[in-house]
């Protein structure tokens, strides 16, 4: 049923991710780990077409962007690595536009899933998502998306420490956190409160569950002298108008003649 669960039906549990943009190093380990797990798990495989050719295509459930931020304070620009996947929104229009009932939001934990047995591959859900979280799998003709590793987090065949999404388990920087954002006392909720975690595009009205922790303020400081370009050039005698500089200019002219 693509109608969203009502407030009474919802358990209050909102499983999701908290992504720390301060510590993410942009290594793509989460994306690779996601691909590896999900090519054998729910809605598997997650195929690539022409993977080693010149124009590979394929569905990935997690993509890592990198942005450059000009802070306009005389400091060097900042690089921010930005993992992007399904935010398991509370009001996901990707679910309500689905004509078949293949897309649904689980009442028990808020996870948004696609049933690969009933998806007709009309792609309308991907049009309705402002976050680009859904990718069509051309080799299966169905839509693929982050499952929050629903086949890991409840899997009693796994060791307890492995019962979390593959991306969270793989992150070497500890930039990804998983938990219940519906519980104000959970570790993730406290982290969001402490660090000022925010929603992506809150004006969309989709109420994303996943939160992003902003990069921490930078320590202010002056740039080391050696890093300043003009000084470095002066040391080589270029362009300061001294006798030596004039000599080198003359020599350059003579030699290029």
């Amino acid at each position: 049923m693509t109608s969203l669960p009502t407030a009474e039906e919802r358990s209050g549990k909102k499983l999701g991710l908290v992504i720390d943009l301060d510590t993410c190093v942009g290594c793509h380990a989460c994306a690779v780990s996601c691909k590896e797990w999900n090519t054998q798990g729910y809605s598997a495989p997650l195929t690539d077409v022409n993977a080693y050719g010149s124009d590979p295509v394929g569905a990935w459930l997690n993509r890592i962007h990198s942005y450059e931020v000009d802070t306009e304070d005389g400091q060097p620009n900042r690089t921010v690595h930005f993992p992007r996947s399904c935010l398991h929104c509370e009001e996901p229009a990707c679910v309500t536009v689905c004509p078949t009932g293949a897309s649904y939001k689980r009442a028990e934990d808020g996870i948004v899933l696609v049933n690969p047995e009933t998806c007709i591959g009309c792609k309308l859900c991907s049009w309705a998502c402002p976050y680009g979280a859904r990718e069509y799998d051309p080799s299966h003709g169905v839509m693929k998306k982050c499952t929050l590793c629903v086949d890991r987090i409840y899997n009693e065949h796994l060791e307890p420490e492995d019962r979390q999404p593959a991306c969270v388990r793989a992150c070497p920087a500890g930039a990804r956190h998983y938990g219940d954002l519906g519980d104000p006392d959970s570790a993730v909720s406290k982290l969001v409160a402490e660090r000022g975690g925010y929603d992506l595009l809150p004006q969309s009205g989709y109420k994303p569950v996943n939160k992003y922790l902003p990069p921490r303020p930078r320590r202010t400081g002056t740039q080391p002298e050696a890093a300043k370009a003009p000084k470095a050039l002066e040391a080589l005698g270029a362009g300061d108008g001294s006798l030596a500089d004039q000599f080198f200019k003359w020599a350059d002219k003579v030699l290029t003649r």
Partner: protein, 316 residues
């Protein structure tokens, strides 16, 4: 948005088919179309249902699993696409019975007229649902616009009325008000489209890459590196861009060759007697077809999806 040919053909062909069906149904109710002519029924209703059916079939070509298309009738409570599917199939019921009674030689009874009205209502609802599939998407500024569904209706009515005038003329029952009605619908459609184009051109692009990423609080945001070396599905489907100068050229073509051409041909059809009327109505039909196909291509090509902000577009 990527303009898929199957969807362009579907929306324009079925739009014209539903417009013609609505006109035939109302024409029956008001005693305009001939209840006794089996040939007129076969050609006119056949053309209308043929366009609708071809359009619906073509719309299944862009599905990953066309054999599961029947599942799309289930979620009418929340989904405009599902509502459209239900309405499209439901329209066949009154339209089919309307055609059967017509072929059966029931000349103009009240049941036949009622079925005509029901067909017209069902056709109208279906076209409205088609427009709302796009109109309800808040992710695309150019689509989430109150004029989108009315323009789908106006273009469906205009193309249907041009076909209706052509068919009536072809069967020797053409009257000038058929053409006048087509002209009126064309003027309304073109006016709505002009208002729509002006509206989307003037609307502020107030969302930035900084808003989308939430990094705008730190300063000016630029894409430093894309997540992948080749375009992915999201970029191919949602990242289609048409150059501004091509778009304005195509808008002019749509308006001048399509709408104005069709209007001029309709006016000439009114002025010229006999065979000339028929010739100009054929030209008007071709021009109307050209207008809606170009309009529909632009409707997709000019639509900018908010997700492009994550891929480096500065404003949306």
């Amino acid at each position: 948005m990527h303009p898929a040919y199957s969807v362009i053909f579907f929306t324009t062909a079925s739009g014209a088919g539903y417009g013609l069906l609505a006109m035939l149904g109302l024409g029956a109710a008001f005693g305009v179309v001939f209840p006794q002519s089996i040939w007129f029924c076969l050609v006119a209703l056949g053309l209308s249902l043929g366009l609708i059916t071809l359009g619906l079939l073509s719309s299944t070509f862009h599905l990953g699993h066309p054999e599961r298309a029947w599942r799309a009738f289930s979620q009418w409570r929340s989904s405009w696409l599902s509502r459209e599917g239900v309405a499209a199939v439901a329209t066949y019921v009154p339209a089919g019975l309307f055609g059967l009674l017509w072929l059966g030689g029931f000349d103009g009874g009240p049941v036949w007229k009622l079925l005509g009205v029901l067909s017209a209502v069902a056709a109208t609802i279906t076209v409205w649902c088609t427009g709302m599939i796009y109109g309800c998407l808040t992710t695309i500024r150019q689509w989430n616009n109150p004029l989108v569904a009315p323009i789908y209706m106006a273009l469906s009515a205009a193309t249907g009325l041009v076909l209706f005038a052509l068919l009536m003329q072809g069967f020797g029952a053409g009257q000038s008000w058929h053409v006048v009605l087509a002209i009126a619908a064309l003027v309304v459609a073109a006016a709505l489209k002009l208002i729509y184009w002006r509206g989307i051109d003037q609307a502020p692009r107030d969302l930035t890459i900084g808003d989308a990423t939430g990094l705008g609080r730190l300063g000016t945001v630029r894409q430093f590196e894309a997540p992948h070396t080749q375009s992915n599905f999201v970029q191919r489907e949602m990242g289609f861009k048409v150059a501004r100068k091509h778009a304005s050229k195509l808008r002019r073509l749509c308006l001048l060759v399509g709408f104005a051409g069709c209007l001029a041909a309709c006016v000439l059809a009114l002025l010229l007697p006999g065979a000339g009327t028929m010739v100009f109505l054929v030209i008007a039909t071709a021009a109307a077809g050209f207008a809606v196909v170009v309009e529909r291509w632009l409707f997709f090509a000019e639509a900018e999806h908010v997700v492009n902000l994550f891929y480096g577009t500065e404003r949306a």
